[in-house]
């Protein structure tokens, strides 16, 4: 028997099997993770059917059927397999206090999927499930009854959404611009006051224009108020399944659907509409509803700024270590230090970023260049620039190591060939070695991007916020506002999943955000891989 065992071991088959098993397990885990996120994330956009249950005590339950499970520890002699229960999303949070409800299966008298129920997505309080009693406009009943009301409601909702767009434009662009200018003038006045010889004439002129702007502001606010009033002109009276009435201004409705009457095509259309609105809209209701556009934007922006910072930094360091430095004990120690830097916990980088970038560098910038804004910090507080720099520090070892590998892969013959043609060392490096090392540099960038996109902890100390008032990119000079705070998909997941008051209702959002984060990482990586591929091809075959 030992002989046989030895034979098996010697043949190496066992080892091959172990390797194969490891790879298979890995693939399963990765696949399972992606599958879980995709099922939960992509399912979120599908317009689910509404079921109406009549319970044995006579009450009704209306909502989306979510899951069915065996109640834990419910096995009794009468029910050897245990009782089961179903979970429904019943919405109507303002009436019931909760979005979800468990119903024990043996309490259900009947289940049906009525054709006339509607699902209303509201701007506040989540979804409403029920039927329409009547639609009113300025107190006058326009349509009564479920079907009539439904028909009358559609154009009203469309109109309300247009109004919302208009209001948002007014608030963000028009009033935002006025506020921006007023703030600029305020800072200018303060700056003049800080100077030794304040120029009275300029201050007076500035104050005059402030007055003018404030009048403009009042005018816009008035327009805004009128528009907001229009939102409340028409309203709808809804009835939930147990007969309670609910008055709802049409302005509070995002959309209304009758999922039980929709055919497959309509559902697919709704699916993509929902998907797009999550991608393009801003969050509502403490981030648990609405879209995640600012988070996507912030994530991509931060990764781009980080890439711009990390690549030159890492490449120059690698060039020095590999091409110029005398290979000896010191360089070896630097290499070890760089490699160890990659293993430092990311929160430590966060602390460093906060202490060095935000307080030291940012604080100095503020006292030197923005004294008029103090005590409000400009750069002396977390911002997308400092977050990006912190992540650049975090990922620079990867870029250094990959670039060094790329450089060592450049054949010695290229260097000598170039030098033998009368090139200096610098010329050889720029014209021959750097192009040859580019694929290696890009590999480093890909790894850096992959790491940076998913990093959350250091960002929480250096500039990420739950809700950013403005994107870091807008139409005010200098367009890119790197001092602003920003939103991030990774932080969004943490915030929505663990910091929101209504965790259960926010769960789909967590999966959706996770899915989109993964998609962003994959997209950023694929584009870098595509560039690398194009570059390698250029060096191998035809080129100009």
């Amino acid at each position: 028997m030992p002989g046989k065992m030895k034979k098996i071991l010697d043949s190496g088959t066992l080892f091959v099997w172990c390797c194969g098993t490891a790879v298979a397990a890995l693939l399963l885990m990765v696949g399972g993770l992606l599958l879980l996120i995709m099922i939960n994330g992509l399912g979120f956009f599908w317009p689910h059917a509404l079921v109406e249950m009549t319970l044995k005590d006579g009450t009704h339950v209306l909502g989306e059927l979510k899951e069915e499970e065996v109640i834990p520890y419910s096995e009794t002699p009468a029910f050897p397999e245990g009782k089961t229960r179903v979970r429904l999303k019943i919405g109507n949070r303002d009436l019931y206090g909760l979005d979800f409800r468990w119903v024990e299966t043996d309490q259900i008298a009947s289940v049906e999927t009525p054709q006339d129920v509607i699902a209303v997505e509201r701007r506040e309080w989540g979804n409403f499930y029920g039927r329409i009693r009547e639609v009113t406009r300025d107190g006058q009943v326009v349509a009564s009854g479920n079907l009539e009301g439904w028909k009358a409601l559609q154009p009203l909702i469309e109109h309300a959404n247009e109004l919302h767009d208009e209001i948002e434009r007014l608030q963000k662009d028009v009033i935002g611009d006025v506020n921006y200018e007023i703030e600029e003038i305020r800072l200018r006045i303060r700056e003049l006051a800080l100077q030794d010889q304040p120029q009275a004439s300029e201050v007076v002129a500035l104050q005059a224009s402030t007055k003018q702007l404030e009048t403009q502001y009042q005018k816009h606010v008035e327009t805004l108020r009128k528009l907001s009033e229009q939102l409340n002109e028409s309203s709808v009276v809804l009835v939930e399944t147990n007969g309670r009435e609910q008055h709802l201004a049409v302005g509070h409705i995002v959309n209304a659907l009758r999922p039980n009457t929709m055919d497959a095509f309509e559902k697919i259309l709704t699916y993509f509409t929902n998907f797009w609105s999550v991608l393009s809209q801003e969050p509502r209701e403490a981030n648990t509803e609405g879209g995640i556009f600012p988070a996507i934007f912030g994530t991509v922006m931060m990764v781009l700024i980080m890439s711009v910072a990390v690549v030159p930094f890492g490449v120059l360091a690698a060039f020095y270590l590999r091409e110029y430095a005398r290979q000896g004990v010191i360089v070896r120690m630097i290499r070890i230090a760089v490699n160890n830097l990659a293993g430092v916990p990311s929160i430590v980088f966060g602390v460093f970023g906060l202490g060095f970038f935000v307080y030291a560098v940012g604080g100095t910038i503020d006292t030197l260049f923005y004294p008029e804004a103090l005590p409000t910090p400009t750069f002396g507080t977390g911002g997308i620039l400092w977050a990006s720099f912190t992540l650049a520090l975090l990922t620079v070892p990867v870029v250094i190591v990959s670039t060094e590998e790329g450089l060592s892969a450049v054949p010695r013959e290229y260097r000598e060939g170039s030098l033998a043609l009368g090139a200096t060392k610098l010329e050889s490096m720029i014209r021959v070695i750097l192009p040859c090392a580019l694929p290696g540099i890009l590999t480093g960038l890909i790894l850096a991007v992959a790491r940076a996109t998913g990093e959350v902890a250091p960002l929480m100390l250096t500039g990420v916020v739950k809700l950013a008032p403005a994107l870091p990119l807008d139409h005010h000079f200098p367009f890119l506002h790197v001092e602003r705070k920003f939103m991030h998909l990774g932080f969004h997941i943490f915030d929505v999943g663990f910091q929101s008051p209504n965790v259960e209702a926010a769960k789909p959002m967590v999966y959706v955000t996770a899915l989109i984060l993964v998609m962003v990482v994959i997209l950023l990586n694929l584009s870098a891989v595509a560039i690398r591929h194009a570059m390698r091809k250029k060096f191998r075959s035809s080129s100009v």
């Binding site: 043609l421 014209r431 060096f539």
Partner: protein
């Protein structure tokens, strides 16, 4: 063995004196130097060290103009080291050190006032391992001229054509100048490297076993090329192939363990060598 060489090369006290007496130690092989009183390159008592290890021992050698000089010898004998000293490529090696003098047209190559990049444009090199850059054929040839600041497209075009013709490659690649150099065959790539070296218009071309990785047909083409190139410049070639040295060179130096054993007209080396070790080597008894 080294004492013999030392004894032969002793009289080289000063540079001038040495130049006059270069031929005396090699009395048996002096025929070529008689014809060439003003050598292109003179190596005077050159010893070369890689750190502690000495690779060359007091080499004395004069390379005449417009001739092909072949350096032969077994692996590790120092012939490539000497070649790389001739355009100061050994400067790159950490701990490398040269004692003695190497002169190009009478001027000391290792003088601090010498611009190394300028020197390397005067002394071109073709390597054993074929090394065209991963760029287009055109960019490869134009690399050197561009470094020297040549930007005019029409000049570059003309120069690229001239250099490729000089390397006998023009007819084969004229329709695909902008294809990658790596798409060429090994022999074509080596001729491209020669064209690339010719494009900077060097006075001397150093070749480090240029044909060792090539097939016989490509080798024949490059050998043919050497005959033509000799008209314009001076060639120093390191080769392992004794037939090749006999075919192409005018003078041959035989190296053994870092020493120049014998340096004479090729005909003499291969028919009537004065040193028994040379005879053993060229007749294939060892090495």
């Amino acid at each position: 063995m080294s004492s013999l060489i030392d004894a032969l090369t002793q009289p080289s006290q000063t540079a001038n004196h040495h130049r006059q007496t270069t031929e005396t130690p090699m009395a048996s092989s002096a025929s070529s130097q008689d014809k060439e009183p003003d050598p292109k390159i003179t190596v005077e008592a050159a010893s070369f060290f890689y750190g502690e290890r000495q690779a060359l021992f007091k080499i004395d050698l004069a390379v005449p103009r417009h001739q092909v000089t072949a350096l032969i010898g077994p692996s590790g004998c120092g012939k490539s080291t000497l070649l790389r000293c001739l355009n100061r490529l050994n400067d790159l090696v950490e701990g490398a050190r040269l004692i003695g003098k190497i002169r190009l047209d009478g001027q000391d190559m290792y003088d601090p006032s010498v611009d190394v990049t300028d020197l390397r444009t005067r002394v071109g090199m073709v390597f054993q391992k074929v090394n065209p850059f991963p760029k287009s054929i055109y960019q490869n040839v134009a690399y050197g001229p561009r470094l020297q600041g040549m930007r005019r497209r029409s000049w570059l075009d003309a120069l690229v054509e001239k250099s490729l013709q000089g390397a006998g490659l023009w007819e084969e690649v004229k329709d695909r100048l902008h294809h990658s150099a790596l798409s060429l065959s090994g022999g074509q790539q080596q001729r491209l490297c020669i064209a690339r070296a010719l494009a900077v218009n060097p006075e001397v071309l150093l070749m480090d076993e240029p044909c060792s990785a090539l097939d016989p047909i490509s080798t024949a083409k490059i050998e043919e090329l050497l005959h033509a190139l000799k008209e314009q410049l001076t060639v120093v070639i390191v080769t392992h192939n004794m037939q090749q040295a006999a075919r192409i060179s005018d003078l041959t130096g035989f190296f053994l363990m870092g020493e120049l054993i014998e340096y004479a007209a090729t005909k003499v080396i291969f028919t009537n060598p004065s040193d028994s070790r040379t005879e053993d080597y060229v007749t294939g008894r060892f090495g």
